[in-house]
Symmetry: C2
């Protein structure tokens, strides 16, 4: 008898579907298509040479250690680096507060595994990171969406969400994916205090905060919570589970990130991770530690900031030039993304086909919503495309939008402009 596999999949698999974005990205990897769709760092800036040198040193000096089983908690010197990195932000932790993970995504999966029973609610920004929805859906989460404005999630909707008794609040407070919006200092304070008062943990996803192109650095929610509850001598015992990542700073192919959280949470995550993948690639942990121990990360990120700022500015300028009236967008102070709102008559999902015919790709907004969604939104990435592609791609997208808004007018203008 052959197995009727589809009937055998567990209930939890019902909510698990493929990421629309990842399927799209596979489709648009044809030459000629300019993609604003992914969330990828600029390939040409990935530090291949530094990794090569670090790998050489690690394997020459400690190769047998690097290829052997490691501790689930992580490579101790890399944990120590994270402790020091946090100390510079005023957060006092020790190794009991740190877990090295296989990329930031694993921090979302581990948190959901630890905290979510089927049907539990998670309070999420609206829109939110679709990878987080994928992680939480696998644990049969329900959602309480919280609308945002230019200063991030709105406090009234946060209060309403907390009253609904969520299992935790999930937020990307800085240069949010997909919106590009940053939570203001006042709201950070309010979020941390209101969540603590309600006894609701916060899952802070923080992959982008080092990629700031203008404005003042804002403290992470972890830092705000640490100053709320921390005495000078004790390690962190607060309400925030903080997920960091090397993906946008060094390279996503390395699959390396970290969780900082109260020791009781880390202890449980370590137990869970033993059954999931034993430990994070030790060789890669050692290579990254070797690379960054003497200040390379700071220099490299400074370079990323210059290049990405330029690309953001180029994209904003091109949008102002080529996009028709009635289209609006966010102006992020950092990160990789901006968020476009089309006139209500346009549906971003329907426009994507037309855009692909014009050899330009983006991600429609709908998959980023946990609740009611706005079909006339879309996300653009400005870190991956090269400057000339940004100019050309936005021009193409502007034409698609103009044509969709006023097909008749566009046809005439296009005819007049053509020789």
């Amino acid at each position: 008898m052959d197995i009727p596999w589809e009937e055998r999949f567990a209930c939890r698999m019902e909510g698990v579907t493929s990421s629309a974005i990842r399927e799209l990205l596979k489709a648009v990897q044809q030459p000629g298509v300019i993609s604003f769709g992914g969330g990828m760092p600029a390939s040409e800036l990935l530090p291949a040479e530094a990794v090569r040198e670090a790998s050489h040193r690690v394997l020459t000096e400690r190769g047998h250690y690097a290829l052997q089983y490691g501790l689930t908690e992580g490579y101790p010197p890399l944990q120590a680096w994270i402790i020091e990195y946090m100390a510079r932000q005023g957060i006092i932790i020790d190794e009991s507060n740190v877990l090295i993970i296989s990329g930031g995504q694993q921090g979302l999966d581990l948190t959901a595994r630890l905290l979510l029973n089927p049907g539990d609610r998670v309070a999420v920004e609206s829109p939110t990171f679709l990878g987080a929805l994928q992680a939480f859906n696998a644990y049969q989460a329900a959602y309480v969406p919280m609308p945002m404005d230019d200063e991030g999630l709105e406090i009234e909707s946060l209060e309403a969400a907390l009253a609904a008794g969520p299992c935790f609040v999930y937020t990307i407070p800085t240069f949010q994916n997909p919106s590009g919006v940053t939570l203001s200092q006042e709201r950070r304070q309010a979020l941390v205090e209101l969540a603590a008062r309600a006894g609701v943990p916060i899952l802070e996803d923080d992959p982008y905060s080092q990629l700031r192109y203008e404005g003042e650095h804002l403290p992470s929610l972890l830092a705000v919570d640490a100053s709320r509850c921390q005495s000078a001598s004790d390690v962190y015992q607060g309400n925030v589970i903080h997920v960091g990542s090397f993906s946008k700073l060094l390279g996503p192919g390395l699959r390396l990130g970290w969780v900082v959280a109260p020791a009781v949470v880390i202890r449980r995550m370590v137990q869970a991770k033993q059954g999931i993948d034993v430990h994070t690639n030790l060789y890669t942990q050692m290579v990254v530690h070797e690379m960054i121990q003497d200040g390379f990360l700071e220099q490299h990120v400074a370079r990323l900031r210059v290049v990405y700022r330029e690309r953001r500015d180029l994209m904003l300028a091109a949008m102002a030039r080529y996009f028709p009236p009635g289209v609006s967008w966010t102006r992020p102070q950092g990160g990789l993304f901006l968020w476009v709102t089309l006139p209500p008559s346009l549906n971003a999902g329907e426009l994507l086909g037309e855009a692909l015919c014009h050899q330009v790709a983006f991600v429609p907004g709908t998959p980023f919503y946990a609740g009611e969604c706005s079909p006339h939104t879309l996300r653009l990435n400005f870190s991956y495309p090269r400057p000339e592609q940004i100019e050309t791609g936005i021009q193409r997208l502007g034409e698609v939008l103009a044509q969709a808004l006023e097909p008749a007018v566009f046809a005439i203008e296009h005819e007049i402009a053509s020789p």
Copy 2:
């Protein structure tokens, strides 16, 4: 308000505890202690130089690709290598049947995630790999243990287990962990046919089969199932989920393995993995592919076989010399482990303390049992300790056993032998 974290952990975390072995291993990493406890390959044989050279080539030639996001399914040339590797065993598959994973353990977690609803039963060998129990416990599995003899799991107990309607059968058919036992050819055939007739999938965990030191190679359950159900032109669509691993062949620190399964299973695993860790470390996938594409793996494994056979033989000879009458053990034809049964009067867990006082470590058998357990069993690893350590360590363990069996007699003999 501070979060009462312990009260917040999800129901599924109740069954999740730390691996006794891993905690033990942390405790015994003091100099002087000879450990037969872990399941580690010999550190001095880990191929650091080959990894160094491969890493250099990958980063020089395709560094920007290696550090960028990759496909969840895996690095296509490494998938192609697996397809070819399977073809040499007579198994016809294509890329829709292969998923590259972050070590074999992830294959166990993914299978449980796909197939297990809380309370579902898994049929497991008794004893079985404790990492598998850790993976399945997180999905609130129940168990149907199947006793083994020298030829692996007993067919009568398999029939009884299948009648209990398990979600799947989990087995390590070749050089099982912890017992070292190998399922005979006849029983492989019977297992595959009975499971197919009952419509129950088989999860085949196959990390050790290349490490054979004597006897004839036996086909994997995947190969047996493929010849049961496969027409010459179709790719594999059978009942086995096969998990392979580079951990014992190249190095566990690389965290690299693979799943071969029907396409419908792989598709669902890919969806699940997107939410878990996006994809397996691409840089490491490329380095390993670069290393093994021209026959390095075969040469390296041939070398491992020579060294590990020698260590197995040394351990067996030392046990015959130093262990008191009434103690018995398995004689594995390959793999990393053998399994010791003590006289009923001795409890392996209680002996461990005494053994550590004598600077020698092992793993008591109890954590390897899903059901009724035998407290007078223990596992010994012979791949990690060096030859002189095997001799000395087994001698020490023999003394501990002799003393425990006949404390008075041992004291007199010991006194006479001392100067």
